[in-house]
Subunit: 193 residues, 2 copies
Protein backbone atom coordinates (compact mmCIF):
# COMPACT_ATOMS: atom_id res chain seq x y z
CA UNK A 1 0.00 0.00 0.00
CA UNK A 2 1.06 3.58 0.34
CA UNK A 3 4.75 3.31 0.38
CA UNK A 4 4.79 6.99 0.98
CA UNK A 5 4.35 7.98 4.51
CA UNK A 6 2.52 9.58 7.26
CA UNK A 7 1.38 12.70 5.58
CA UNK A 8 -1.95 11.77 4.10
CA UNK A 9 -4.07 9.36 6.02
CA UNK A 10 -7.51 9.60 7.46
CA UNK A 11 -7.46 8.12 10.92
CA UNK A 12 -11.20 7.93 11.34
CA UNK A 13 -11.22 6.06 8.08
CA UNK A 14 -9.79 3.06 9.83
CA UNK A 15 -12.33 3.37 12.58
CA UNK A 16 -15.17 3.52 10.10
CA UNK A 17 -13.76 0.52 8.34
CA UNK A 18 -13.67 -1.45 11.54
CA UNK A 19 -17.14 -0.36 12.45
CA UNK A 20 -18.45 -1.63 9.13
CA UNK A 21 -16.46 -4.83 9.39
CA UNK A 22 -17.79 -5.54 12.85
CA UNK A 23 -21.38 -5.03 11.84
CA UNK A 24 -20.89 -7.12 8.74
CA UNK A 25 -19.14 -10.01 10.44
CA UNK A 26 -21.50 -10.05 13.36
CA UNK A 27 -24.45 -10.15 11.01
CA UNK A 28 -22.82 -12.96 9.12
CA UNK A 29 -22.26 -14.90 12.30
CA UNK A 30 -25.83 -14.23 13.29
CA UNK A 31 -25.14 -13.28 16.88
CA UNK A 32 -26.47 -10.38 18.88
CA UNK A 33 -24.32 -7.56 20.07
CA UNK A 34 -24.83 -8.62 23.65
CA UNK A 35 -23.90 -12.19 22.89
CA UNK A 36 -20.81 -11.26 20.95
CA UNK A 37 -19.63 -8.97 23.71
CA UNK A 38 -20.13 -11.74 26.20
CA UNK A 39 -18.18 -14.24 24.11
CA UNK A 40 -15.37 -11.81 23.51
CA UNK A 41 -15.28 -10.88 27.15
CA UNK A 42 -15.70 -7.19 26.58
CA UNK A 43 -18.35 -4.77 27.74
CA UNK A 44 -21.23 -4.50 25.36
CA UNK A 45 -21.07 -0.75 25.68
CA UNK A 46 -17.62 -0.90 24.19
CA UNK A 47 -18.82 -2.99 21.30
CA UNK A 48 -21.73 -0.68 20.76
CA UNK A 49 -19.43 2.31 20.53
CA UNK A 50 -17.17 0.49 18.14
CA UNK A 51 -19.94 -0.51 15.79
CA UNK A 52 -21.19 3.05 15.91
CA UNK A 53 -17.89 4.17 14.50
CA UNK A 54 -16.90 6.01 17.63
CA UNK A 55 -13.77 4.98 19.38
CA UNK A 56 -10.41 3.61 18.47
CA UNK A 57 -10.15 0.13 19.85
CA UNK A 58 -7.03 -1.43 21.24
CA UNK A 59 -5.63 -4.48 19.57
CA UNK A 60 -6.55 -6.68 22.47
CA UNK A 61 -10.15 -5.67 22.17
CA UNK A 62 -10.17 -6.20 18.45
CA UNK A 63 -8.34 -9.46 18.81
CA UNK A 64 -10.88 -10.75 21.26
CA UNK A 65 -13.63 -9.81 18.87
CA UNK A 66 -11.93 -11.49 15.94
CA UNK A 67 -11.52 -14.67 17.94
CA UNK A 68 -15.08 -14.59 19.16
CA UNK A 69 -16.27 -14.04 15.61
CA UNK A 70 -14.12 -16.82 14.32
CA UNK A 71 -12.52 -14.69 11.66
CA UNK A 72 -8.90 -13.82 11.03
CA UNK A 73 -7.80 -10.59 12.56
CA UNK A 74 -7.13 -8.82 9.32
CA UNK A 75 -10.69 -9.29 8.20
CA UNK A 76 -11.64 -6.62 10.69
CA UNK A 77 -9.13 -4.09 9.48
CA UNK A 78 -8.55 -4.76 5.82
CA UNK A 79 -10.90 -3.01 3.44
CA UNK A 80 -13.76 -5.25 2.38
CA UNK A 81 -12.47 -7.22 -0.54
CA UNK A 82 -14.26 -6.10 -3.62
CA UNK A 83 -16.13 -8.92 -5.14
CA UNK A 84 -15.23 -8.55 -8.73
CA UNK A 85 -16.49 -11.89 -9.76
CA UNK A 86 -14.75 -12.07 -13.11
CA UNK A 87 -14.07 -15.75 -13.36
CA UNK A 88 -13.32 -16.65 -16.91
CA UNK A 89 -14.02 -20.08 -18.11
CA UNK A 90 -10.28 -20.58 -18.14
CA UNK A 91 -10.25 -24.31 -18.13
CA UNK A 92 -7.59 -25.66 -20.38
CA UNK A 93 -5.98 -22.30 -20.94
CA UNK A 94 -2.30 -22.91 -21.35
CA UNK A 95 -0.44 -20.01 -19.86
CA UNK A 96 3.15 -20.93 -20.38
CA UNK A 97 4.63 -23.29 -22.89
CA UNK A 98 7.91 -21.60 -23.60
CA UNK A 99 9.82 -24.80 -23.48
CA UNK A 100 8.12 -27.69 -25.09
CA UNK A 101 8.67 -29.84 -22.04
CA UNK A 102 6.97 -27.46 -19.68
CA UNK A 103 3.35 -26.46 -19.53
CA UNK A 104 1.32 -24.51 -17.03
CA UNK A 105 -2.40 -24.72 -17.36
CA UNK A 106 -4.57 -22.22 -15.60
CA UNK A 107 -7.39 -24.04 -13.90
CA UNK A 108 -8.95 -21.24 -11.97
CA UNK A 109 -8.39 -17.54 -11.84
CA UNK A 110 -8.77 -16.00 -8.45
CA UNK A 111 -12.01 -14.55 -7.19
CA UNK A 112 -12.67 -11.73 -4.73
CA UNK A 113 -10.07 -9.68 -3.08
CA UNK A 114 -6.96 -11.72 -3.18
CA UNK A 115 -5.36 -12.86 -6.32
CA UNK A 116 -5.36 -16.59 -6.25
CA UNK A 117 -4.74 -18.81 -9.19
CA UNK A 118 -4.66 -22.54 -9.56
CA UNK A 119 -2.41 -24.15 -12.13
CA UNK A 120 -1.48 -27.58 -13.24
CA UNK A 121 2.21 -27.82 -13.92
CA UNK A 122 3.74 -30.56 -15.94
CA UNK A 123 7.30 -30.92 -16.97
CA UNK A 124 9.86 -33.38 -18.21
CA UNK A 125 13.43 -33.89 -17.04
CA UNK A 126 16.21 -31.91 -18.60
CA UNK A 127 14.49 -28.60 -18.88
CA UNK A 128 14.50 -26.92 -15.52
CA UNK A 129 11.96 -24.18 -15.39
CA UNK A 130 13.32 -21.08 -13.70
CA UNK A 131 10.66 -18.61 -12.71
CA UNK A 132 11.33 -14.96 -12.21
CA UNK A 133 10.06 -13.39 -8.97
CA UNK A 134 6.45 -12.42 -9.03
CA UNK A 135 4.77 -9.55 -7.30
CA UNK A 136 5.86 -8.95 -3.73
CA UNK A 137 3.73 -10.87 -1.30
CA UNK A 138 3.14 -13.79 -3.60
CA UNK A 139 3.14 -17.23 -2.05
CA UNK A 140 3.10 -20.46 -3.96
CA UNK A 141 1.81 -23.81 -2.82
CA UNK A 142 2.76 -26.92 -4.66
CA UNK A 143 1.53 -30.47 -4.32
CA UNK A 144 3.20 -33.03 -6.48
CA UNK A 145 0.89 -35.45 -8.21
CA UNK A 146 3.26 -37.75 -10.04
CA UNK A 147 6.92 -38.15 -10.79
CA UNK A 148 9.63 -36.39 -8.86
CA UNK A 149 10.58 -32.75 -8.78
CA UNK A 150 13.03 -30.31 -7.32
CA UNK A 151 11.06 -27.20 -6.47
CA UNK A 152 11.17 -24.09 -4.33
CA UNK A 153 13.44 -21.09 -4.02
CA UNK A 154 16.57 -21.45 -6.13
CA UNK A 155 18.75 -21.18 -3.06
CA UNK A 156 16.76 -23.72 -1.11
CA UNK A 157 14.86 -26.10 -3.33
CA UNK A 158 13.16 -29.21 -2.02
CA UNK A 159 12.80 -32.57 -3.63
CA UNK A 160 9.24 -33.79 -3.69
CA UNK A 161 7.65 -37.17 -4.14
CA UNK A 162 4.00 -37.69 -5.10
CA UNK A 163 1.72 -36.33 -2.40
CA UNK A 164 4.37 -34.05 -0.95
CA UNK A 165 3.52 -30.44 -0.35
CA UNK A 166 5.70 -27.38 -0.23
CA UNK A 167 5.03 -23.72 0.26
CA UNK A 168 7.53 -21.06 -0.61
CA UNK A 169 7.66 -17.33 -1.33
CA UNK A 170 6.90 -16.54 -4.94
CA UNK A 171 8.56 -13.16 -4.89
CA UNK A 172 12.01 -14.64 -5.12
CA UNK A 173 13.46 -16.65 -7.99
CA UNK A 174 12.22 -20.20 -7.82
CA UNK A 175 12.52 -23.35 -9.80
CA UNK A 176 10.48 -26.33 -10.96
CA UNK A 177 12.74 -29.05 -12.24
CA UNK A 178 11.36 -32.44 -13.13
CA UNK A 179 13.51 -35.38 -12.15
CA UNK A 180 11.39 -38.06 -13.73
CA UNK A 181 9.26 -38.33 -16.85
CA UNK A 182 5.57 -37.68 -16.45
CA UNK A 183 6.04 -35.26 -13.61
CA UNK A 184 3.11 -33.01 -12.87
CA UNK A 185 1.61 -31.21 -9.90
CA UNK A 186 -0.87 -28.66 -8.70
CA UNK A 187 0.21 -25.16 -7.88
CA UNK A 188 -1.77 -22.55 -6.03
CA UNK A 189 -0.32 -19.09 -6.43
CA UNK A 190 -1.71 -16.50 -4.16
CA UNK A 191 -0.94 -12.92 -3.62
CA UNK A 192 -1.60 -11.39 -0.26
CA UNK A 193 -1.53 -7.74 0.63
Amino acid sequence: MGSGQGAGRAPSDVVGLIAAALRRERARAGVSLTELARRAGIAKSTLSQLEAGAGNPSVETLWALAVALGVPFSRLVDPPAHRVEVIRAGEGLIVYSEQSAYTATMLSSGPPGTRRDIYRLSSEPGTPRLAQPHMAGTVEHLVLSAGRVLAGPVDNPVELAPGDYVRYPGDVPHVFRALEPGTFGVMVSEHVS
Copy 2:
Protein backbone atom coordinates in the same frame (compact mmCIF):
# COMPACT_ATOMS: atom_id res chain seq x y z
CA MET B 1 -17.55 -21.20 14.30
CA GLY B 2 -20.61 -20.64 16.33
CA SER B 3 -19.60 -23.63 18.35
CA GLY B 4 -17.85 -23.26 21.62
CA GLN B 5 -16.45 -19.89 22.33
CA GLY B 6 -13.19 -18.07 22.31
CA ALA B 7 -13.06 -16.12 25.47
CA GLY B 8 -9.87 -17.41 26.96
CA ARG B 9 -6.79 -16.30 25.08
CA ALA B 10 -3.46 -14.95 26.07
CA PRO B 11 -3.78 -11.24 25.47
CA SER B 12 -0.17 -10.33 26.05
CA ASP B 13 0.61 -12.85 23.35
CA VAL B 14 -0.70 -10.43 20.81
CA VAL B 15 1.25 -7.62 22.34
CA GLY B 16 4.44 -9.60 22.25
CA LEU B 17 3.78 -10.50 18.65
CA ILE B 18 3.32 -6.90 17.74
CA ALA B 19 6.43 -5.90 19.64
CA ALA B 20 8.48 -8.42 17.71
CA ALA B 21 6.89 -7.44 14.41
CA LEU B 22 7.62 -3.78 15.00
CA ARG B 23 11.26 -4.35 15.82
CA ARG B 24 11.62 -6.66 12.86
CA GLU B 25 9.96 -4.40 10.33
CA ARG B 26 11.69 -1.32 11.56
CA ALA B 27 15.03 -3.05 11.29
CA ARG B 28 14.12 -4.16 7.81
CA ALA B 29 13.20 -0.65 6.82
CA GLY B 30 16.42 0.59 8.35
CA VAL B 31 14.95 3.55 10.17
CA SER B 32 15.51 4.69 13.70
CA LEU B 33 12.88 4.59 16.36
CA THR B 34 12.82 8.36 16.49
CA GLU B 35 12.47 8.67 12.76
CA LEU B 36 9.72 6.10 12.55
CA ALA B 37 7.80 7.77 15.32
CA ARG B 38 8.14 11.06 13.51
CA ARG B 39 6.91 9.64 10.24
CA ALA B 40 4.00 7.91 11.87
CA GLY B 41 3.15 11.01 13.78
CA ILE B 42 3.24 9.38 17.17
CA ALA B 43 5.33 10.06 20.23
CA LYS B 44 8.55 8.13 20.29
CA SER B 45 7.88 7.23 23.86
CA THR B 46 4.80 5.40 22.68
CA LEU B 47 6.75 3.51 20.08
CA SER B 48 9.43 2.69 22.60
CA GLN B 49 6.87 1.19 24.93
CA LEU B 50 5.31 -0.80 22.14
CA GLU B 51 8.57 -2.30 20.98
CA ALA B 52 9.33 -3.15 24.57
CA GLY B 53 6.24 -5.30 24.64
CA ALA B 54 4.45 -3.08 27.12
CA GLY B 55 1.18 -1.54 26.17
CA ASN B 56 -1.77 -2.39 24.05
CA PRO B 57 -1.83 -0.07 21.10
CA SER B 58 -4.93 1.30 19.49
CA VAL B 59 -5.59 0.50 15.89
CA GLU B 60 -4.94 4.04 14.82
CA THR B 61 -1.52 3.93 16.33
CA LEU B 62 -0.74 0.61 14.75
CA TRP B 63 -2.19 1.71 11.46
CA ALA B 64 -0.02 4.80 11.42
CA LEU B 65 3.00 2.64 12.07
CA ALA B 66 2.08 0.20 9.35
CA VAL B 67 1.68 3.04 6.87
CA ALA B 68 4.92 4.64 7.92
CA LEU B 69 6.68 1.32 7.58
CA GLY B 70 5.13 0.73 4.20
CA VAL B 71 3.81 -2.67 5.13
CA PRO B 72 0.30 -4.05 5.15
CA PHE B 73 -1.42 -3.88 8.45
CA SER B 74 -1.65 -7.61 8.86
CA ARG B 75 2.11 -7.92 8.82
CA LEU B 76 2.18 -6.36 12.24
CA VAL B 77 -0.35 -8.67 13.80
CA ASP B 78 -0.02 -11.96 12.01
CA PRO B 79 2.70 -14.33 13.16
CA PRO B 80 5.68 -14.32 10.82
CA ALA B 81 4.90 -16.85 8.16
CA HIS B 82 7.51 -19.49 7.82
CA ARG B 83 9.23 -19.13 4.52
CA VAL B 84 9.32 -22.62 3.20
CA GLU B 85 7.26 -25.43 4.55
CA VAL B 86 7.26 -29.00 3.41
CA ILE B 87 4.65 -31.55 4.33
CA ARG B 88 5.54 -35.01 3.12
CA ALA B 89 2.98 -37.46 1.92
CA GLY B 90 1.68 -39.14 5.03
CA GLU B 91 2.63 -36.24 7.26
CA GLY B 92 0.54 -33.33 8.27
CA LEU B 93 -2.64 -32.64 10.11
CA ILE B 94 -5.22 -35.20 9.18
CA VAL B 95 -8.53 -33.48 9.34
CA TYR B 96 -10.92 -36.24 8.49
CA SER B 97 -10.43 -39.93 8.77
CA GLU B 98 -13.89 -41.05 9.66
CA GLN B 99 -13.72 -43.93 7.31
CA SER B 100 -10.46 -45.77 7.34
CA ALA B 101 -10.14 -45.55 3.59
CA TYR B 102 -10.45 -41.81 3.43
CA THR B 103 -8.07 -39.16 4.66
CA ALA B 104 -7.94 -35.41 4.23
CA THR B 105 -4.73 -33.70 5.17
CA MET B 106 -4.69 -29.98 5.69
CA LEU B 107 -1.72 -28.55 3.87
CA SER B 108 -2.39 -24.87 4.25
CA SER B 109 -4.96 -22.90 6.13
CA GLY B 110 -6.17 -19.74 4.54
CA PRO B 111 -4.39 -16.46 5.08
CA PRO B 112 -5.97 -13.19 6.09
CA GLY B 113 -8.60 -11.82 3.81
CA THR B 114 -10.19 -14.85 2.39
CA ARG B 115 -10.83 -18.22 3.80
CA ARG B 116 -9.11 -20.75 1.72
CA ASP B 117 -7.64 -24.04 2.65
CA ILE B 118 -5.61 -26.58 0.75
CA TYR B 119 -6.06 -30.28 1.39
CA ARG B 120 -4.66 -33.49 0.10
CA LEU B 121 -7.39 -36.06 -0.28
CA SER B 122 -6.72 -39.73 -0.59
CA SER B 123 -9.22 -42.50 -0.71
CA GLU B 124 -9.69 -46.11 -1.62
CA PRO B 125 -12.54 -47.69 -3.55
CA GLY B 126 -15.59 -48.96 -1.79
CA THR B 127 -15.99 -46.21 0.73
CA PRO B 128 -17.57 -43.21 -0.92
CA ARG B 129 -17.01 -40.10 1.11
CA LEU B 130 -20.13 -38.03 1.37
CA ALA B 131 -19.49 -34.54 2.59
CA GLN B 132 -22.10 -32.41 4.24
CA PRO B 133 -22.59 -28.90 2.88
CA HIS B 134 -20.13 -26.37 4.18
CA MET B 135 -20.70 -22.74 4.83
CA ALA B 136 -22.66 -20.91 2.20
CA GLY B 137 -20.43 -19.47 -0.46
CA THR B 138 -17.88 -22.22 -0.29
CA VAL B 139 -16.34 -23.36 -3.53
CA GLU B 140 -14.16 -26.39 -3.95
CA HIS B 141 -11.54 -27.01 -6.59
CA LEU B 142 -10.22 -30.48 -7.12
CA VAL B 143 -7.36 -31.74 -9.24
CA LEU B 144 -6.86 -35.45 -9.37
CA SER B 145 -3.29 -36.63 -8.98
CA ALA B 146 -3.57 -40.37 -9.32
CA GLY B 147 -6.19 -43.05 -9.67
CA ARG B 148 -9.72 -42.37 -10.70
CA VAL B 149 -12.50 -40.67 -8.83
CA LEU B 150 -16.13 -39.73 -9.01
CA ALA B 151 -16.41 -36.30 -7.47
CA GLY B 152 -18.63 -33.27 -7.32
CA PRO B 153 -22.18 -32.56 -6.20
CA VAL B 154 -24.07 -35.72 -5.35
CA ASP B 155 -26.64 -35.05 -8.01
CA ASN B 156 -24.08 -34.37 -10.68
CA PRO B 157 -20.72 -35.98 -10.00
CA VAL B 158 -17.93 -36.12 -12.54
CA GLU B 159 -15.44 -38.85 -13.19
CA LEU B 160 -11.90 -37.64 -13.17
CA ALA B 161 -8.65 -39.05 -14.47
CA PRO B 162 -5.22 -37.88 -13.31
CA GLY B 163 -4.69 -34.23 -14.16
CA ASP B 164 -8.38 -33.48 -14.51
CA TYR B 165 -9.80 -30.49 -12.73
CA VAL B 166 -13.29 -29.87 -11.45
CA ARG B 167 -14.83 -27.02 -9.61
CA TYR B 168 -18.12 -27.26 -7.76
CA PRO B 169 -20.05 -25.53 -5.00
CA GLY B 170 -19.12 -26.74 -1.56
CA ASP B 171 -22.30 -25.59 0.09
CA VAL B 172 -24.30 -28.48 -1.24
CA PRO B 173 -23.79 -32.17 -0.46
CA HIS B 174 -20.90 -33.48 -2.49
CA VAL B 175 -19.02 -36.70 -2.87
CA PHE B 176 -15.51 -38.03 -3.34
CA ARG B 177 -15.60 -41.65 -4.38
CA ALA B 178 -12.44 -43.44 -5.39
CA LEU B 179 -12.77 -45.83 -8.31
CA GLU B 180 -9.24 -47.18 -8.20
CA PRO B 181 -6.75 -47.98 -5.47
CA GLY B 182 -4.20 -45.30 -4.66
CA THR B 183 -6.48 -42.46 -5.60
CA PHE B 184 -5.47 -39.07 -4.31
CA GLY B 185 -5.84 -35.46 -5.29
CA VAL B 186 -5.50 -31.85 -4.28
CA MET B 187 -8.47 -29.86 -3.10
CA VAL B 188 -8.66 -26.13 -2.64
CA SER B 189 -11.61 -25.08 -0.57
CA GLU B 190 -12.37 -21.43 -0.57
CA HIS B 191 -15.08 -19.46 1.01
CA VAL B 192 -16.26 -16.23 -0.46
CA SER B 193 -18.76 -14.58 1.76
